[in-house]
Symmetry: C2
Subunit: 481 residues, 2 copies
């Protein structure tokens, strides 16, 4: 990156170079324009801009650059003339891709749309260019490879990037338009979840992640050294959100990490994921809870459809999928009904197994539905039994594109019945004493559920691996970066 | 709770009793009115209501109850007459405090305001009363003791409740008007933080809590068993939010738990707390970052002042404090300036120690200020040195009522300087390799900070222990409930 120009006097030598590291030496009174704001209205203006070198191509006395900011990019030109010397063009052409530069340039309207850039109607004629941060010459992965749809370009021998390479170099992989879109949409899911529930009168709570006893019976839990003793990482905020209901908060939600020490290496399991949790008191029937949750999901789907269409389209370019379909009101089937229906359609499954199938999606033309009334035996001990049939329970799962995204139920709010159920599940009563005691001082009937954020994003976008919607995924084999 | 009325025929026997457990037996078409909606406009209406028995007092042929929902309560009366028998009054009088009941009652306007209730203009004349959930007869703490201001009633021998009793029985302690107000305000802080930053173009990110290497050098970190290896709990989202900046997200925030294995038993330390974290790229000077953060804090202070006045007043009744004062723009002093000023005022402190004092608050009449330019030696290795004086750094703390709530800085975005600084701090380069590598592919100048949610709530409300603003606090001695 250092050049010696001993033999030529360079008239433009103050117009380019590598800047000293920005260490807050001065408060420059300089407005930096955003790439997305480069439209024909700015034509013929001299502007400053900071962006990455997305691509660069030298051609005789000129160098074409594509400058990128997030999902936006613009074509820029450095050409030998009265504002740029041969040396300056050479300097620009030699800047490593992904380096960050400050450029001063005139915005020019173009005759023919630049199809390869987000800003199609203008280009920049660069008059000054300074490197703010240099990228290494060799990138561990190329952005254009990383956004290539699966299979495309295979015959030309063009590369795609495998998942481990992506994740190992996540800081580059996250720069692709696809990644930018996925995680902006994820941010939107959280916001829609919270805003919808806040409007419904829910209160946000913060629950501890380090706990003294494994709340759900003891399996699949991570152990933490805690000073001279040991503790566990919470597998869910279950106990705490229920305590908040017993403490009169009436309707609560929380967004936070949950930890599962399951040695599962599937497309939909993570050892740490973000739980969107809901718990609420109800009056007489737990379907009041189902209605609140399904309405919240529908508000999320609508918000995404209406406000994140650009992001959805961007992801679709690389990973094509059908638009997400949902009904109002949400389809709710009983578990046994669904099993019978699937049986009729020729799909066999154990009567008391988890039920996962896309068949219902096709039968009812919806990508979102609820299965209600699961067999009691397959649910946690704190699940309320069905009042009419003790083999079943007041519990439900919710599905997106045929995969489970939420598990929930009416909870047992009576300490005697809860004790009986825990004993039936052979749970050590001593370990869940404080949980059971929470219900001894008056507890309203209540229910709720926990939603996996990464699964919601994956399935909404029709992706096929939950690692695509977790910024820094954790599984039994991956703890970095 | 079982009564035998063998000798009297009770004409009202269907009008009271203990309900069977609500197990979602039926969808009752019954509207339950909220206590806060009980106003004179509802006078003479017959309504249904679900609430807790807050207090109960039998007096001859009648029983006065106070019924409570969260911070709202209303007086109710069961009196022998054509709608209630002697037995029914006796039944009502014997319901344990904190039990949850359904009542059918006529709303009556009262002549004289009921000063002891939130609903002062009406009372309820109960015609039916059913227990939905029974509380045990003995409560581990009394709500009226739990909201008594310190010192008050001491001469009459009235109890207050100590902190451990509160925390051991948090499910009851959280029912007090003070607790309800604190945690509703806390929910508001999170919402204001996120809404302000979202408006400023920040994106919410989710960062992993289980990490493979202790990011900040290795001290004070909790160890987790992770399948056949071990891992750590993140002491901050530092690495990850910086990676997001290097990945072009430009401005990010996150809200989530952070873990500190410090064996500190002070009023302001927790081993697990909620971090409100910010990181952003800036153009030329890190004061752009300070301005964004201080403006965010000011928006939070204004939002609380304007929308949470009821909660602030409620907490003030038990814990009196002055309203929180802040200036616009926020006061920013250089660290050395502040030390010199305090020296002049007679307060001595080491030149390179953490500076904590309420003096500045008094000198400038503000409860919120920034100290800028800390000595480099007291800051983490990734802190950018001051370009003009290598003894100092581009770092800052923010204070509320004289106590630190945020620590932040411009970060070193150059991998060579970062390596040099890590070596100077004797940090094993191998362990932070992926962190340093994040900056090798072009990194914009950036800075940020981390705010402690519980401290912000504590100090805004003028409370004196961070355990009051953590629902389920964790410290070296407390892991439950």
């Amino acid at each position: 990156m250092f050049f010696l120009f001993l033999f030529f006097k360079d008239f433009a030598k103050d117009r380019y170079g590598v800047s000293v590291m920005v260490q807050s030496q001065q408060k420059l009174d300089r407005v930096l324009v955003r790439v997305q704001d480069l439209t024909p209205e700015k034509a013929d203006q001299l502007i400053w801009l900071r962006a990455r070198i997305h691509t660069s191509r030298a051609k005789g006395k000129q160098c074409f650059l594509v400058l990128r900011q997030q999902q936006f990019n613009v074509q820029a030109l450095v050409a030998v003339g009265d504002r740029a010397s041969k040396q300056m063009v050479k300097f620009a052409a030699n800047i490593n891709k992904e380096s960050i530069v400050d450029v001063e340039a005139v915005v020019r309207k173009v005759e023919q749309k630049i199809e390869s850039c987000s800003q199609q109607d203008v280009e920049l004629h660069i008059e000054r260019i300074f490197v703010i941060s240099q990228a290494e010459p060799r990138l561990p992965l190329q952005l254009e490879d990383a956004i290539r749809p699966d299979g495309e370009g295979e015959e030309e021998g063009r590369a795609t990037v495998n998942q481990d390479t992506r994740l190992d170099n996540r800081v580059i992989d996250l720069r692709t338009t696809t990644s930018q879109a996925i995680f902006r949409l994820q941010s939107g899911v959280c916001q829609l979840f919270r805003d919808t529930l806040t409007k419904k009168g829910f209160v946000e709570i913060q629950t501890p992640k380090i706990i003294s006893a494994a709340s759900e019976g003891g399996a699949n839990v991570f152990t933490v050294s805690y000073f001279k003793t040991s503790a566990y990482l919470a597998q869910s905020p279950q106990l705490y959100k229920q305590m908040c209901i017993c403490a009169d908060f009436d309707k609560v939600f929380c967004v936070g990490p949950v930890f599962r020490a399951e040695d599962s290496n599937t497309h939909r399991h993570l050892t740490e994921f973000v739980g969107l949790d809901i718990e609420m008191a109800f009056n007489y029937h737990y379907h009041e809870v189902i209605d609140s949750i399904t309405d919240t999901m529908v508000q999320i789907f609508k918000g995404l459809r209406d406000n994140f269409q650009t992001e959805i389209q961007t992801v679709n370019k690389q990973f094509p999928s059908e638009p997400f379909k949902f009904l109002e009101p949400t389809l709710r089937l009983e578990y046994t009904e669904a099993v019978a229906m699937l049986h009729e359609a020729g799909v066999e499954m154990g009567d008391e197994d988890d039920l996962r199938s896309a068949c219902i999606t096709h039968l009812y033309d919806t990508d979102f539905y609820v299965l209600d009334k699961y067999p009691l035996a397959v649910r946690p001990f704190y699940t309320m039994p069905d009042p009419n049939n003790p083999k079943y329970s007041n519990s439900y799962d919710m599905f997106m594109r045929g995969e489970e995204i939420l598990s929930g139920a009416q909870r047992v709010h009576d300490p005697e019945l809860l004790t009986e159920r825990a004993l039936h599940h052979q749970i050590d009563l001593e370990k869940i004493k404080s949980y059971i005691d929470s219900f001894r001082y008056g507890a309203p009937p209540h229910g709720g559920g926990g939603i996996g954020l990464e699964r919601v994003c994956m399935l909404y976008l029709g992706l096929h691996n939950v690692r695509q919607t977790s910024m820094f995924p954790r599984d039994p084999k991956r703890l970095t970066p």
